[in-house]
């Protein structure tokens, strides 16, 4: 039992690193990542599960960071956009977004990247139509989605979803141009 509103300790893994922080029960996972752990790559948009900007990966599944309380992530393995470029260079998926100009303002981009990462881990080859529906939970008000689809399809062809979170994503794949070291 906790007292209402009182912060509790949350231990979890974020991008492979053990982290611990304090969170009121009502603190969402997205807020916890941003404000307690300083990982501001995860963006908070609608805060009611509609826009997808806060999408992060929890135990391998892409989820809404605003519809999960930080206390619920206790003991879980979380991946955020910061984990993609952990070693400095861009992840092949990020590179594909860059190459295809799949962003303008960039607000939705972290969420789209994490959704797309999981989609490509599920299977690298997508039809444009199926991918459009697969990514339909992430709103983008700039691109009209066309270049996002171009980017994710290209990243899939380049093997960007391979390897999950074991650090081998994209390794050895003839990625689009200058794939990062990851």
């Amino acid at each position: 039992m906790t007292v209402a509103g009182e912060p509790v300790r949350v231990r979890l893994s974020v991008n492979g690193r053990a982290e611990v922080g304090l969170a009121e029960p009502r603190t969402t996972l997205a807020e916890f990542l941003r404000e307690e752990l300083g990982l501001t790559g995860t963006h908070v948009g609608c805060e009611q599960g509609v826009c997808g900007a806060c999408t992060v990966v929890v135990d391998g599944a892409a989820v809404r960071g605003c519809l999960m309380f930080a206390v619920q992530a206790d003991g879980r393995a979380v991946e955020t956009v910061e984990g993609l470029a952990a070693e400095g260079g861009m992840h092949p998926l990020q590179r594909a977004f860059w190459d295809a100009q799949a962003l303008q303002c960039g607000f939705c981009t972290p969420g789209l990247l994490m959704t797309a990462l999981v989609a490509l881990r599920e299977r690298p080859e997508w039809t444009r139509e199926a991918l459009r529906e697969r990514l339909s939970g992430n709103l983008c008000r700039c691109t009209g989605y066309s270049t996002v689809l171009d980017a994710v399809l290209a990243a899939g062809r380049a093997g960007a979803g391979d390897g999950g979170d074991d650090g081998s994503a994209g390794a050895g794949a003839p990625a689009s141009g200058e794939a990062g070291p990851r």
């Binding site: 039992m1 209402a4 509790v8 009121e24 807020e31 892409a62 809404r64 206390v71 339909s136």
Partner: protein
């Protein structure tokens, strides 16, 4: 942070959860939270206590046994959707799940949570109604099973009493010789349905309809059986004329929700009838192929 402050209790067993639910005036069960957390963010719900049951081992199980799929209250939609056994045993459920929101929501959302939330536009309560499923409820007095037709009593309202919680759903598996379909009309994939239907038909050896089940969602205050359509089909050869007549009768006696921002009542009736026609056609075809 948008939700009002609350106390968080993680329950690892059903008795623990019941104790926590009974210990506060306004305690709510938290499973996937994909419906509850948004309404908390909007402060439409301000529970004092959230009882998180999502990790209780006994609620994390699902199994097919004796023609019934039992799904614990901690099982997510996505787990069911991706499970090879569920895909083989209950393809109608898998198709229904695919209509719910987006994979990111289904990764957390639970089947039992959708039943307990009882959104009139939700797919799963209608599936349970169409297939004569049951909701298993636990409370201080023990466990009881509530038939689908008695579980949802109004919009966002169920037969759950204070201090009770859903522990499992029991979904009868569609039998051989029957064909089923689910369909809905939504503005975009993942949106709430403006009208939806789950239907099944059973054909006898002579190709007559030995029983039809039609449940509508998104059109009334609760999921509702389309008895008008079922009566037309019972005993009939389900040809084009019979299916036309069934669709035309689908909204007989249905108290359609009034005009609102997403759709007019007339739209729901007309589009809903067309949807019923389409789904019945698919169900009859599936029954014929399975026979």
């Amino acid at each position: 942070m948008k939700p009002a402050p609350f106390e968080y209790v993680r329950a690892d067993t059903v008795p623990e959860a019941l104790a926590a639910l009974g210990g506060a005036d306004d305690a709510r069960v938290l499973a996937g939270g994909q419906s509850l957390v948004p309404i908390m963010a909007l402060r439409l719900a301000t529970p004092e206590v959230l009882v998180d049951v999502s990790r209780a081992p006994e609620l994390r199980e699902h199994r097919s046994d004796g023609g019934v799929l039992t799904v614990g209250a901690g099982v997510t939609d996505r787990e069911l959707e991706l499970d090879a056994g569920v895909r083989a045993a209950h393809p109608l459920l898998v198709r229904t799940l695919s209509l719910i929101a987006h994979p990111e929501i289904r990764a957390r959302g639970t089947l039992c949570g959708s039943l307990a939330h009882a959104d009139p536009a939700a797919e799963l309560p209608a599936l349970l109604l169409a297939t004569d499923g049951e909701v298993e409820v636990a409370g201080d007095a023990g466990r009881r099973r509530v038939p689908a037709a008695e579980f949802v009593t109004g919009p966002f309202t169920t037969a759950l009493a204070d201090g009770e919680m859903v522990v499992a759903a029991h979904l009868p598996l569609p039998g051989p010789g029957s064909g089923w379909a689910v369909d809905e009309i939504a503005r975009r994939p993942g949106d709430y349905a403006l009208a939806g239907v789950v239907c099944g038909v059973e054909l006898d050896g002579a190709g007559r309809c030995a029983g039809a089940r039609v449940a509508l969602f998104g059109v009334a205050a609760t999921p509702v059986r389309a008895h008008g359509a079922e009566r037309v089909l019972d005993g009939a050869v389900p040809d084009d004329a019979a299916l036309d007549a069934a669709a035309a009768a689908a909204f007989d006696g249905v108290d359609v929700i009034g005009d609102e921002v997403h759709a007019s009542a007339g739209y729901r009736r007309r589009a809903g009838a067309a949807l019923v026609r389409r789904a019945l056609t698919a169900a009859v075809r599936a029954a014929g192929e399975g026979a």
